[in-house]
Symmetry: C2
């Protein structure tokens, strides 16, 4: 039943060689990898105004324009840098790979950890924000906030488990809808003022200025707007998800993405200046603009609804990015190997499921109110930007190929600016949560290093030396001891005993006595049975089965000599009903698990199956 439900939700398994057809073309790659970046511009302008308006009053719009210019400049730099990265890393070059390659393992892991934090938070923050937008429209849903958010995460997780191509259609369409509606708003908004001569009537009063601009204030405004840049990473990390020629396709998508973000971010910022929108906790800047441009009609609601949808879709960028990133890290041995295995539908299922679960947990813990996770998220993204750009800078300096000075200059400026942004974000948001990032990143890096050393140790201990060859067939070793534990004399035990007799003629039946009555009964039955196999009974005053068995095995090992090994043949009852397992002492399973920790032992499990309707 469970597997049927799974197939219904996720679809039938795909063959490994069907992998190619499941990749993005440019048209669908753009919305899937860009919804995070595009959705963040919806609030980036507002974030800038939140910083400026209370201090500068009406002068804010001037400096908002300057901030926006800087961010546009930064975005061009980042885009140029990532174009270079896509050229240099055709197999996919996120910050993790670039930093690892050029700066060393630890910086790479730091970038990987920052990105992981960023991706997980993207899902939690975006779906929560999307739910909040829906609830602003339908307040009756307020008490179901957490449930709705979890439902969104569930739907997106399932969509991604189904596979890339289908998820691109499911998740790409709303992104295009959002882009079209926002672009309509921008063009019509400018047209209304510049051509039709409409005089904007701001919904809220602009506060009077209390101070003049300072460098620090400007930098704060700039860094607040930098959320517009988050999500760009996804494209260069996702090159292998593109159809061939994947490198070229990725570059086109990156450029288109930058263009879309530029137009939407620039356009919305310009409209905010034109219509004198004032940030307010109840009505968003975008909503204020839409209200003035269209009036309170269908278009206003469409802007609100598509904004809500794109916020939820933004989390899909993380679902496209994180599983790939984890697969890279896992292939290098720094994350559990399971993250590098493709699932039934060829997506990295384990990464997708883990991302869904962890973000759902965050939503539950913060009860759907994840707004103050925002700073954590921005800091993480900019740390990875800085590492990626520094890595590229070092790369050009090392390689010194044609035009390296120009390239190094571009990346150097980028590294500097993103570093400055990260520092400013870290300082201004330190107390409101950014400190967690500075604990989490080292912690994650430590775990990754520990995992790697575990895998190395395992590989080292498993490696065959040159002269190690299989032993020749030697049935004399059959004189080894075979122990068959008995609890009750029944068919299951008899089957195990019969099996034991085919591998050795040196069998000991072993009984741990917990209940004197039961033991007496068993021994009586055994003697009536008249089989010439010795039975050893050990009393267990503390009612443990395992303790006396291990002690006995140790004494037998001692008798058999250190080189010889002991075989334990366990009769295992197998019930066909899943709930049947709850009804049986899983003693055999428990014994097996504990005995396996002993080097010189082999455990034979002989199943006895109980059929039930």
């Amino acid at each position: 039943m469970v597997s049927k439900l799974g197939r219904l939700l996720i679809g039938k398994s795909l063959k490994t060689n069907e992998l190619k057809s499941e990749k993005f073309n440019v048209f669908w790659g753009l919305p899937v990898l860009s919804s995070d970046a595009i959705s963040s511009v919806a609030y980036a302008g507002e974030e800038i105004l939140w910083v400026l308006i209370p201090v500068l009053g009406v002068m804010s719009y001037k400096y908002m324009f300057y901030s926006a210019l800087c961010i546009v400049f930064l975005m061009i730099l980042v885009t140029l840098s990532y174009r270079q990265t896509i050229d240099a890393y055709p197999q996919g070059g996120g910050s993790y790979i670039v930093a690892k390659d050029n700066l060393g393992t630890i910086p790479g892991l730091v970038a990987g950890a920052s990105l992981t934090i960023g991706y997980v938070l993207t899902v939690a923050v975006s779906t929560s924000a999307g739910t909040a937008a829906i609830i602003s429209a339908i307040p009756a849903l307020l008490s179901y906030r957490v449930v709705i958010t979890l439902l969104f995460i569930f739907i997106i997780t399932i969509g991604n488990l189904r596979g890339l191509r289908e998820s691109s259609k499911v998740f790409g369409t709303p992104t295009y809808l959002f882009m079209i509606i926002i672009l309509t708003m921008i063009f019509f908004g400018i047209f209304k003022v510049k051509v039709l001569g409409y005089v904007p009537r701001p919904m809220y009063k602009i506060p009077t200025a209390v101070s003049d601009i300072t460098i620090f204030l400007f930098l704060r405004a700039f860094s607040s707007g930098c959320t517009a840049l988050t999500g760009i990473e996804a494209v260069s990390n996702g090159i292998p998800s593109f159809k061939e020629p994947s490198q070229k396709n990725a570059k086109i998508v990156l450029e288109l993405l930058a263009l879309v973000v530029l137009i939407i971010f620039g356009g919305v910022s310009y409209l905010a200046t034109l219509y004198h929108a004032v940030p307010n906790p109840e009505v968003t800047v975008v909503a204020q603009i839409a209200y003035q441009v269209f009036g309170k009609n269908i278009m206003f609601y469409l802007v609100q609804i598509t904004t809500a949808i794109i916020l939820i879709m933004a989390s899909n960028t993380a679902f496209a990015g994180l599983p790939l990133l984890l697969a890279f890290i896992a292939k290098d041995g720094f994350a559990p190997r399971q993250f590098s295995k493709r699932g039934k539908r060829l997506g990295y299922s384990n990464g997708i499921i883990t991302l869904g679960l962890v973000s759902a947990l965050l939503v539950i813990i913060f009860e759907g109110d994840t707004h103050y996770l925002m700073p954590l998220y921005a800091v993480g993204v900019f740390i990875s930007f800085t590492l990626s750009q520094s890595g590229m800078l070092i790369r050009w300096i090392k390689l010194k190929n044609k035009g390296w000075r120009h390239k190094a200059f571009v990346n150097g400026i980028g590294a500097l600016v993103t570093f400055a942004t990260a520092v400013i974000l870290g300082i201004t948001k330190f107390l409101s949560g950014a400190w967690i990032v500075f604990i989490l990143i080292p912690a994650i890096v430590c775990v990754m290093v520990r995992i790697k050393s575990h895998y190395c140790e395992v590989a080292k201990q498993l490696k065959l030396t040159v002269n190690e060859r299989p032993k020749e067939v030697d049935f004399s070793i059959q004189k080894r001891y075979v122990i068959v534990p008995i609890d009750t004399l029944n068919k299951s035990f008899l089957k195990a005993l019969n099996y034991a007799r085919t591998i050795s003629d040196n069998i000991i039946i072993f009984h741990v006595s917990v209940d004197d009555e039961a033991t007496k009964k068993l021994l009586k039955k055994w003697h009536e049975y008249k089989v010439d196999i010795p039975i050893v009974v050990k009393k267990s005053p503390y009612r443990s089965i395992l303790g006396p068995l291990v002690k006995f095995i140790e004494s037998e090992e001692y008798a058999a000599g250190p080189k010889d090994s002991v075989t334990v043949v366990l009769a295992q009852l197998v019930v066909t009903k899943w709930w049947g397992n709850i009804l049986h002492n899983q003693t055999a399973l428990f014994i097996k698990t504990m005995l396996l920790r002993r080097r010189n032992i082999a455990i034979v499990t002989v199943p006895y199956i109980i059929f039930e309707d």
Copy 2:
């Protein structure tokens, strides 16, 4: 580390023959088995007044006295009945055993299910009520309500896991404290009015009467007060927990319990009449009395605190009762067998832990506000009373031994009255929750019957027939097929292969190819190895390891003939660190679990241990 913590909390293991010294004497048995009954009298009088006061006004006290008289009469009947039960069932005779013995299996199971519900709810309701009492004293703790309740459940669970004697000291002392303080209040309260001539000043105005007494109103008042009787069952169910002579001790405790309940319930009811206490959602009746008797001094607070403690301790009655009941049911095969096994400290650990977990879950689901679980609880208890008394009635009629008419009369009246009470409770509280009981009890009974039929089926299939004897040693069966799956050619595989060679010379190495590259590498290595064992490679387009392996085994089975079995030798990597298991595809474990469902297979697990610092 986990096992160290466990030993610290629960104490060192006890030997089976230390069982005797862990039992109750009369002095500690009384408080442990009676805290539920005694705590319920603290609010039984109040419950009666809640029904009467709004209708009858000042006349209520008269009918409260009549109700109390009826309850006292009922209590005497129940006590007499249970004295007879203790005589008839020295091994412990709760409603389950009495009903099963005399009325048949299904009535027994119904009684068992009702009692189980009652016990679980006792824990949830009592600890929540205790927490509420504490919070009334310290309102700052309000937001930690659930956490505090869970902490209490945890402490009581640990206390019970430690063992009976110790838990009797931990939980018995506060019960005695409560009894002493309430008795002091009763005697001093009567003394103050009757001897010192104090004229009571009620804290709240008594409402004016709106109607006269009706039979139905009186019965509702009576049944509301019947909570005073819950918990009596625990004594007769707990006979085996008493020191020898356990039967006699249990009877003494039962009589003492009835006496204590009579005095406290009667006394508090009488005081309520004397001091004209009026039930009120903010100040309990007991608190109103204590305030008038002592003034707002240390004694008032002592009454409040010990009331809170006794409510929490009341849940301990359930911890003494339910694990024993479950052990009885499990021994009869109607509940998972694990409930009948004694734990490290000789308590029925599984029952104790299950009770702790389920009641904690209820507290979490109802967020510590479990007050409306009350009717469920009372209905369950009275259903089991009715079944128990009917059972005894049938018993006397069947046995017809000396004085059976008198005994049957006592039990008959008891059955009638408890049945009437159960019906009244069921009707008056049906919509406020009692309906759940009428769904839950049949559901639980169904599950119990299903469990029994499972155990019977297993036993039937495992039973040896007369002529079934072990086969003679026959090494020719060694021509059987042995399959050794390979993933990588390493030490772990080599160890498994070497083992396989000692049990058969008919070995097939089997490889499932998921990744063409890896397979090519493996085959090259294998051919360089030049060992004369065939290797079979099967491609798995859907990346499943198990599918091709099962198919291959089936074809080999076919070749080997139906009677022969196939052995699979699995190399299992064992890591010494607990977290190491997360880092490895548990393929061997998964294969083993799935293969065990096949009748003609034996699985040999050859562990290879990775040592790590």
